[in-house]
């Protein structure tokens, strides 16, 4: 330690010598005005209330769900009948949920990715690109019941008769897995679009310019260089979209026909099922609760528990993917 030139002599040491101590953090509450202390307490109360409410919901659904859920229920088909609480299971709603999610995502991802690529990479004329972005924001903000009603309007047109079934009077029923799945794609579209757009905008311009300088066309650059880089964010967006589809009830209630079992339309095996009606976990819970037919709260709890598990799993997958990306970057 170099001797300091010119400084006054140090003060006599304090006895006992003070130990190495961490700097005291922040300021103590004793000096605050009472209104500030009240605000501090309110903040803590709100934070803890949040945790309490979440815990209550999760714990309650878990307890009730485990109480009423068993393998037999999960894998047997629902039986129509008056004594709903004793017969049947929830297999068809589970299948319905899976099928609907797949249709919705299969339609949403290509649409959203193509639109996002066009908006970010091409985007001429610029007002059109802004209009498309605004339009997707509008869809994101639209209530799902309105999207469902719109779907009904569309699929009851004679043009779309093959997608559902036509009643003998000539009126198109307009409700089927295909109809519901198409509208579900609108529900998931903004999430996938947003994720793709963010991912594309975060790739620095230098990457693209390097590829163009080597003589590749824009579309080739997109296909070979950009798309592989944004696969993971697209996946994340798709999983978020699936979470939203799985949890959506209004579209299902309006567009899926609310039959307990999957009713096939026509004789073709898979296509007939898709043209037919059925139910998903969300509509099943709705119908089994006192708000619907209502005499099977036990089954409602069981189905709700399965639904919650699926949604939590999807969100957990997004979290894990996000954390792995952070770790990979770090």
């Amino acid at each position: 330690m170099a001797a300091t030139v010119g400084a006054p002599p140090p003060l006599p040491p304090v006895h006992p010598p003070e130990p190495l101590r961490p700097a005291p953090r922040g300021d103590s509450l004793r000096s605050w005005k009472w209104s500030h202390r009240l605000a501090f307490a309110t903040c803590w109360a709100c934070g803890l209330a949040l945790c309490a409410v979440t815990a209550a919901i999760v714990v309650y659904m878990g307890v009730r769900g485990l109480q009423y859920l068993n393998f037999e229920l999960l894998f047997s088909r629902p039986q129509p009948g008056l004594a709903q609480h004793t017969t049947g299971g929830i297999l068809d709603p589970v299948i319905g949920t899976i099928v609907l999610t797949l249709i919705g995502i299969a339609l949403a991802v290509p649409l959203a990715v193509a639109a996002a690529i066009w908006v970010v990479e091409y985007g001429r004329p610029a007002p059109l690109a802004r209009a498309i972005e605004s339009g997707i924001e509008v869809v994101a903000g639209t209530p799902d019941i309105v999207i469902a009603i719109f779907g009904l309007a569309i699929f009851q047109l004679p043009l779309f008769a093959p997608l559902s079934f036509t009643a003998s009077g000539g009126g198109v029923f307009g409700r089927s897995f295909l109809a519901a799945g198409s509208m579900m794609s609108l529900i998931a579209l903004p999430l996938v679009f947003g994720a793709t757009r963010e991912a594309l905008m975060s790739i620095p311009a230098a990457t693209r310019e390097a590829s163009w300088a080597l003589g590749k066309t824009k579309i080739c650059t997109i296909r070979e260089i950009l798309l592989p880089q944004i696969r993971r964010p697209i996946g994340t967006g798709a999983v978020l979209g699936m979470g939203r589809i799985v949890g959506d009830t209004a579209v299902v209630v309006v567009l899926l026909g609310a039959t307990l079992q999957i009713e096939r339309q026509g004789d073709v095996p898979i296509l007939g099922d898709l043209r037919g009606t059925g139910s998903t976990l969300t509509s099943y819970v709705f119908n089994a609760s006192p708000a619907g037919e209502g005499n099977a709260p036990q089954k409602a709890y069981a189905a709700a528990f399965v639904l919650l598990l699926i949604v939590l799993f999807l969100n957990f997958a997004v979290d894990v993917a996000g954390r792995r990306k952070e770790a990979g970057r770090a």
Binding site: L50, M61, L111, V139, I219, D248, L314
Partner: protein
Amino acid sequence: MISRLRQPWTDRQATWRLGAVACLVLLLITLMVVFVTIRAWPTLRANGWVSWLGSGGSVDDQLGEMIKTGQDPPEAAYHLRAWPLIYGTLVTTGVAVVVGLVFSVFSAIFIVEFAPARVRAVVVPAVRLLAAVPSVIYGLIGILVLAPFVGNHLISPERKASVQNVVQLDGTGVLVAVVVLTVMIVPIMIAIIVDALRAIPSAWTEGAAALGANRWEAIWTVSVRAARPAIVAAAVLACARALGEAVALSMVSGSRGFSPNPVDGITYIFEPLRPLAASMVENIDAMNAPAVKSSIYAFALLLLLSSLALSIGGYIAKLPMRRQGLRV
């Protein structure tokens, strides 16, 4: 055709093809507005364009009449006065947004400033979880847990008797609906406000601390004040979400097209109501009748226009912050 798609595209082809897909999305959205308006036309025309928003008679009875008129209803059958439904929407949305906003601001301040790291690691996933829970589960808990609790323990038999000529008080009603709706919209607002508070440059909060402000003052007088546009935007977006909530509210709000009467005093919060979106869900089965169908589309048009206006409002609300260069 598939094989032709798989060959390398030229940029011009790509522009057209991708652009077509993008425009398809825009087309769908335009179609949505157009179709809903077309289908709503008869009701709008029969009711003088806007007077169906007013009050007059029981809306449930009017809808019931429409069902009876069958496939070819006369003009008079379209008569509708939907004010009770609109009033229900306004009450639930308004109270939920106000209460939720206060709660969200304090929670956001807690998350950003006061929460120790370990508590934050619990609260932030909790908020995300609340945002992810499907609305039908909120409705289920509301109708199987909250409503019986309110009906059996909070509403005295005398109170039920006092209004039993008009409505049945069974627990579903304003109180449970507002509680459920608040819990549903709080996570949205917290996420927006937390992002905004985190975007505030630390130079400001450090400057406030250096001037002798304690932690609460620094964040309240500087960060929250600077984040006011984002708080407004959060409220607006939560409003849009609350307006459109159909399923959960149809389960817990009591499902009567009834306007709760503030003159009733405390009983007001126990009276049933039915917001607009919930009414749509409940009358889906009756949509074979053209009069009902047209009414439902009129409701949809109103919801669509409101959420459109609110989305624009939310965007405009955030502009002051964006102009300062903050990424919100």
